[in-house]
């Protein structure tokens, strides 16, 4: 394939601006999928993605397009997620491309992730092609959207295609722009092989499947590849490209191509996303720069509901981490929950998605502890420690100072809601930095916010205070000193490590109050009265009491029919199984999550 006929591109957009729908239309117009095979959001092939209407993982597909210039082109479309948690995935995809289509919703204009993703594309030297979508909406104002693109991002947009991905309007214009505006790759096909791994997953039959972008050189079946980060070598057994529905074997890949390699790789630890693949017999001299390692922002403990499934959980996490390098995990133990893992995530949505994937794809029942950020504590001894798990937070007496992570947050909102948002940010201990008008009635509010105030439910609160109009993006700013305390929870007088969390001292009392109330709601009555207490450093600051169970069913046991009794007994035992026995108290899994939902 002549490189000048290849176009490698991504589509970037704020969430819900129509990225996956445009991808579907492009797939249709390039005849990549028979129409009868067409399902909405074809690229979103995880159940969770379709249900939530979001794209989580980057995905790639090769398309063939017959352009107006009479030539046939190969398009490699790499889909990207739009949510703030997955910026990392976006940047991974972008490195494999020469250009990006930037979708802007004609009625919403530029939103927080529009900017964040565009900046990522520009940082990666990509040609950005703006497209104005949803022109069919009654509230569409394409001119205003174009103006915003020109004024805020600073790229020409007045002649940007104005389309409706949903109705299929003007999609052809987008395809022509891909041909004319996005540069062809310029690799050296005769140089030593240099290919970037941008994704991978484990296939039961073929082993690890590497998705890669060949920058220089070429590769064919039978070649021995070397993965430069680990030095591991494998003989390739299948090479090809990603069709809309299946992998299509081709035997070789050349400079500029996007495709896959299977080399009977069994150990998922050998392949790292961001690593460079080269030819073992004719290696390149240095690896591609690869990816910046992303640091997880949010941690939580994940435990198997059934302790015997610890090994299964570990296997599942190992497989997930293969195509989600942003996930991290370390074994940990909890007095309450036994053996499990402390897992790090990019954000709360990322955490939810991983939990859901573990439960659905790996059929695991999980108990998850409340999410927490990492704290840096200086001890009176002068030693500095980083706290990943609230349980390990040192005694107040040993702490000389503590710091918590803060973020630079930008909130884009119609100006009507500025008051509401300021109130929310103040409540979340935010520091106002500035406010800029994007146009006459939309503003960009800039706040510094403690990360631990936004990991729980900030996004939901923001949505509800702005009728869904505000959008939000943040980046780590660093650590700032803070007055933090560790809140312990005691059931029947016994501390439950898995329920501890760290909170700003001003908020401790209110949180403790809500927490004990929530636990009381979530823990069923026991045979004994159970006090639920919250304490800071041994001092009880809130208490509720779960009353003892009064009666269960005293049914007539008739005519020697003891089956009903047996069924009740089985039900009791089944119920007990879903509980965690903490001392004399049986605690349902939901109780561990109740800490998450204190603001309901």
């Amino acid at each position: 394939m002549d490189q000048s006929k290849i176009r490698n591109f991504s589509i970037i957009a704020h969430i819900d601006h129509g990225k996956s729908t445009l991808a579907d239309r492009i797939l249709e117009l390039t005849d990549s999928v028979e129409l009868r095979e067409m399902e909405d959001q074809l690229l979103d092939n995880m159940d969770i993605e379709r249900e939530r209407g979001i794209t989580i993982k980057a995905r790639a597909v090769r398309l063939r397009y017959h352009a107006d210039d009479g030539e046939d082109y190969v398009f490699n479309l790499i889909d990207t997620p739009g949510h703030v948690d997955f910026n990392y995935e976006v940047s991974r995809s972008l490195v494999a491309c020469e250009g990006a289509i930037l979708i802007v919703d004609a009625s919403q204009g530029i939103e927080a992730q529009t900017l964040a993703n565009t900046y990522l594309a520009i940082e990666n030297d990509l040609e950005v092609v703006p497209v104005i979508n949803k022109i069919d909406l009654p509230s569409a104002d394409p001119d205003r959207a174009c103006n915003e693109v020109e004024n805020i991002i600073g790229i020409p947009a007045m002649d940007a295609p104005r389309i409706s991905a949903k109705m299929g309007t003007n999609i052809k214009e987008v395809l022509e722009r891909i041909v004319t505006d996005i540069p062809a790759p310029k690799g050296d096909d005769s140089a030593p092989l240099k290919a970037l791994i941008f994704d991978s997953y484990y296939d039961q039959y073929k082993g690890v499947i590497i998705y890669c972008r060949v920058k220089d050189g070429h590769i064919k079946v039978g070649d021995t590849i070397r993965l430069m980060a680990t030095g591991a070598e494998f003989q390739t057994v299948e090479i090809g490209y990603m069709g809309a529905k299946d992998l299509v074997p081709m035997g070789e890949l050349h400079a500029g191509d996007v495709g896959y390699i299977a080399a009977s790789i069994k150990d998922i630890g050998d392949t790292r996303v961001g690593d460079t693949v080269t030819n073992a017999d004719n290696p390149c001299s240095e690896a591609l720069p690869g990816y910046k390692k992303v640091n997880p922002m949010v941690y939580c403990g994940i435990y198997p509901a059934d302790g015997a499934k610890y090994g299964d959980l570990r296997d599942a996490l190992e497989k997930l981490v293969l195509n989600d390098a942003s996930l991290s995990f370390e074994p940990e133990t909890s007095v309450a929950l036994g053996f499990g893992f402390r897992c790090g995530f990019l954000g709360l949505l990322h955490m939810e998605i991983i939990q859901e994937r573990l439960e659905r794809e790996y059929n695991l029942d999980l108990v998850t502890t409340a999410p927490s950020v990492t704290y840096k504590v200086t001890l009176t001894s002068g030693e500095e420690v980083t706290i990943y798990n609230p349980t390990n937070y040192p005694d107040t007496g040993l702490i000389s100072s503590a710091a918590e992570p803060v973020v630079n947050a930008h909130i884009y909102t119609p100006s009507d809601y500025v008051g509401n948002i300021m109130e929310l940010c103040q409540d979340r201990r935010g520091t106002f930095k500035d406010m800029k008008y994007i146009d006459t009635n939309r503003v960009d509010l800039h706040y510094i916010l403690p990360l631990n105030e936004i990991v729980y439910d900030f996004f939901d609160a923001l949505k509800s205070k702005t009728k869904g109009y505000a959008s939000f993006d943040y980046e780590m700013k660093g650590y700032e000193p803070s007055k933090l305390v560790k809140l312990d929870v005691l059931l029947n007088g016994e501390p439950v490590d898995a329920l501890s969390f760290i909170v700003h001292e001003e908020k401790a009392y209110a949180r403790a109050r809500r927490l004990v109330e929530k636990l009381k709601e979530n823990i069923p009555r026991q045979l004994f009265e159970v006090p639920v207490q919250a304490a800071i450093g041994g001092k009880i600051i809130a208490r509720e009491t779960i009353k003892a169970l009064r009666k269960d069913v005293l049914a007539k046991c008739y005519g020697g029919d003891i089956t009903r009794k047996k069924k009740l007994l089985e039900k009791q035992k089944e119920g007990k199984k879903r509980m965690r026995q903490l001392g004399s108290v049986a605690v349902p899994q939901e109780a561990f999550m109740s800490v998450l939902k204190l603001d309901d």
Partner: protein, 367 residues
């Protein structure tokens, strides 16, 4: 020794809270039932099974004529080695007049169990019962006149509209009658019954009050000489139901009739709830429920329903080698006032009976 249970699946009118197997009464169906009962009893002939209790349950067994009861009992005497037997018949106060009671007595019935349920007429009306309190008291008096010296009455707790005071009145009325046994059950809304609706659920007594009612009843019956011997059963000394005791102590019993359950030959089985097959098949095909009952679990589950409780010695005999978890749980439960451990025995208190499902599940899990 074995007990015999005969399920008579007919009622003149079905009570709206009941989900036991019972059909509309008709003369011809009861005739057919009697013949089939005799046939099924005869299938045990020649096996020299010794029996000492017979129990006619239902349904409404008092819809059987004296001759029908007599025919069934003749078959029992013919096919089982019956000695010194307690022979109970459940009777509806409305369908048992003096003559009929005399006939039952002559046929060999020596114990009656009346479905009195309440001494409050408005409560009886809500329960859909055919009798009023006065009719029930007269039935008991007639039974005494007919020569019965062992009479039981059923009492329900937590029925729609019941109060602590009305229940106290019902208990007073019952304890003043010349009876020896009282069964006190809590009303339970069974799925699919006419009572399974929002209105009734709102009208019945809440958990807290019905628990108090139960404790009141236990205390009051005890004070009147009706000692509790099982979760729901109370008797004057020596008048505990020998038949029902077999259920709690793991003795054998054979059930005859649709929906009747059996424990016989170390196997639990039941006859399908299907009158048609009972009438048409020479001997109704039974269905195995459990051909290897867990003796330990059953011992704990059933034994703890009795006020005498279970024996640690027996647990050891049934294969428990380590009682430390059980002891620990027992101590916790004892501290909460739910059980009493004394020497070799562990028994539930009335408070413990109220939460017996949970307590039993805990104790079994601790073994």
């Amino acid at each position: 020794m074995t007990g015999l249970y005969i399920h008579v699946p007919f009622c003149a009118r079905k009570c709206p809270y009941c989900d036991f197997y019972s059909l509309r009464f008709s003369r011809s169906a009861v005739d057919g039932f009697t013949e089939a009962a005799v046939r099924n009893i005869q299938s045990f002939k020649g096996r020299n099974i010794a029996a000492d209790t017979v129990y006619f349950g239902g349904g409404t067994p008092s819809l059987l004529s004296c001759e029908q009861v007599s025919a069934i009992l003749d078959a029992v005497r013919d096919c089982f080695e019956l000695s010194d037997a307690e022979i109970t018949l459940e009777a509806n106060p409305c369908t048992a007049d003096f003559d009929k009671l005399c006939g039952y007595r002559r046929a060999g019935v020596n114990r009656l169990s009346f479905g009195v349920q309440s001494a409050d007429d408005s409560e009886l009306l809500k329960l859909g019962r055919l009798h009023n309190s006065e009719r029930a008291q007269r039935a008991v008096e007639d039974a005494v006149k007919a020569g019965f010296e062992n009479i039981s009455c059923d009492l329900m707790l937590g029925t729609p509209g019941q109060t602590r005071q009305s229940l106290k009145n019902s208990v007073d009325t019952l304890t003043r009658l010349p009876i020896q046994h009282i069964s006190a059950y809590m009303l339970r809304i069974e799925q699919g019954t006419p009572y399974d609706n929002e209105k009734i659920r709102n009208d019945i007594v809440d958990d807290e009050l019905v628990s108090q009612m139960y404790l009141d009843t236990v205390e009051k019956l005890g004070a009147s000489g009706f000692e509790q011997y099982e979760i729901s059963n109370f008797a004057k000394a020596g008048f505990e139901s020998r038949h029902n005791m077999k259920y709690w102590t793991g003795e054998d019993y054979i059930g005859i009739g649709p929906s009747a359950h059996s424990l016989f030959g170390a196997r639990r089985y039941f006859c399908p709830s299907d009158l048609e097959s009972f009438l048409s098949e020479p001997v109704q095909q039974s269905v195995t429920e459990d051909d290897d009952p867990d003796r330990l679990e059953e011992y704990v589950m059933l034994g703890l329903r009795l006020t005498k409780g279970i024996s640690l010695q027996r647990l050891t005999e049934l294969g428990v080698s380590d009682l430390s978890g059980f002891d620990k749980m027992t101590r916790l439960l004892e501290k909460a006032g739910l059980c009493v451990a004394q020497g070799d025995s562990v028994r539930l208190t009335p408070q413990g009976f109220l939460v017996s499902n949970a307590v039993i599940a805990e104790l079994i899990s601790s073994l």
